[in-house]
Symmetry: C2
Subunit: 231 residues, 2 copies
Amino acid sequence: MNLMVIERHFDVELEALKKKLLHMGSVAEEMIRLAVKGLVIRDASMAETVFAMEDEVNHLHIEIDDIAMKLLALHQPMATDLRLLAAVVKINSELERIADQAVNISQNTNFLLKEPQLKPLIDLPRMAEIAQKMVDNSLKSFMDKNIELAQSILLEDDKVDELKDQIFRELLTYMMSDPSTIQRALSLILISRNLERIGDHATNIAEDVIYMVQGRDVRHPTKAPAPGRMH
Amino acid sequence: MNLMVIERHFDVELEALKKKLLHMGSVAEEMIRLAVKGLVIRDASMAETVFAMEDEVNHLHIEIDDIAMKLLALHQPMATDLRLLAAVVKINSELERIADQAVNISQNTNFLLKEPQLKPLIDLPRMAEIAQKMVDNSLKSFMDKNIELAQSILLEDDKVDELKDQIFRELLTYMMSDPSTIQRALSLILISRNLERIGDHATNIAEDVIYMVQGRDVRHPTKAPAPGRMH
């Protein structure tokens, strides 16, 4: 009976931990959205909000890690729950890195807003939308233990990479034809790379979910490196 | 008596796991060294070696994760050993990302070796040396539970960031004065960013070591973002 009470208590704490992780995820998603919106509508105040939100994410990052470690130490869970807690720790670290990338986008935006607009942005917001959706779906797949959804995220990542290459090629032509555009074009290239890394982190989360549910490792499929591309 | 045998067995497995992690670390370090050497002496064969070594790192990454999870599940360690295993899992993931960055350096190098040399490289190899030393010291601090060494790594990271900014400014002047240098200069800028991220991962390892030894979190010190810099 006493053991049952302890176990039920563990389940309650585990649910609370998952909710906290989900909350951290929505803060990180909102940071991406605001960072890119600030760039598109050229509003520097959004960057300030993003910087403020990073504090909350950093706080949640430490808090979630601590709770997970305490649950591991006190309840010594087996098999399924152990894999769940391991996934929480990994996803926690991916979300913190996603928030970092949103901060980087806002910092690059701060530079761009001091200069005249180089070109209307079409591909970057599209790329941001896909990356943000990937983060959202990766967290949904975690909450619902939905393998199909997790696998669909691995495919979305190719779209993000294609858009990144497209943006790069376009901005390169700007730089080549007019050196006065170099610094602004570079900032936009770096922002596309920040978004690419957000897509990578969402992919990592999806892989963690698949491992958690199936106990099978989908990381590191044999893939030939693409020499000559920029990485 | 039986319990003592089990505990001794756990210690033996833990030592073997630490050795495996250290081995993975030396492979990752060697990848950085070869990737940068291939760039400096313009030898494309080094990139091939780096790509081959990535397979070994990816294999070790999965293996170390699996062993750590099994030790957690079977022995349900408390306090110190639990923190040690958590550190192993985190450092494992940092080392895999360091190896990824070495691969990126080799991929960017493959592009550069098809073009005439832009300039003799001085700052990049210096930056690489510091980054590699940071990785080396972060692993030493883990093996020896050496807090002072771990803390010294956090300071080295500032040097890496300074060199990155210096390299960026120099290459920007190349691009501005001669647009035909843009693509090569960009590749070098990206390589300096690959090295910067290696420094970041070494810093993460150092922070994990401090947390492991002290049970105190040194991540996320309040730091004002530097607006206008490129990230």
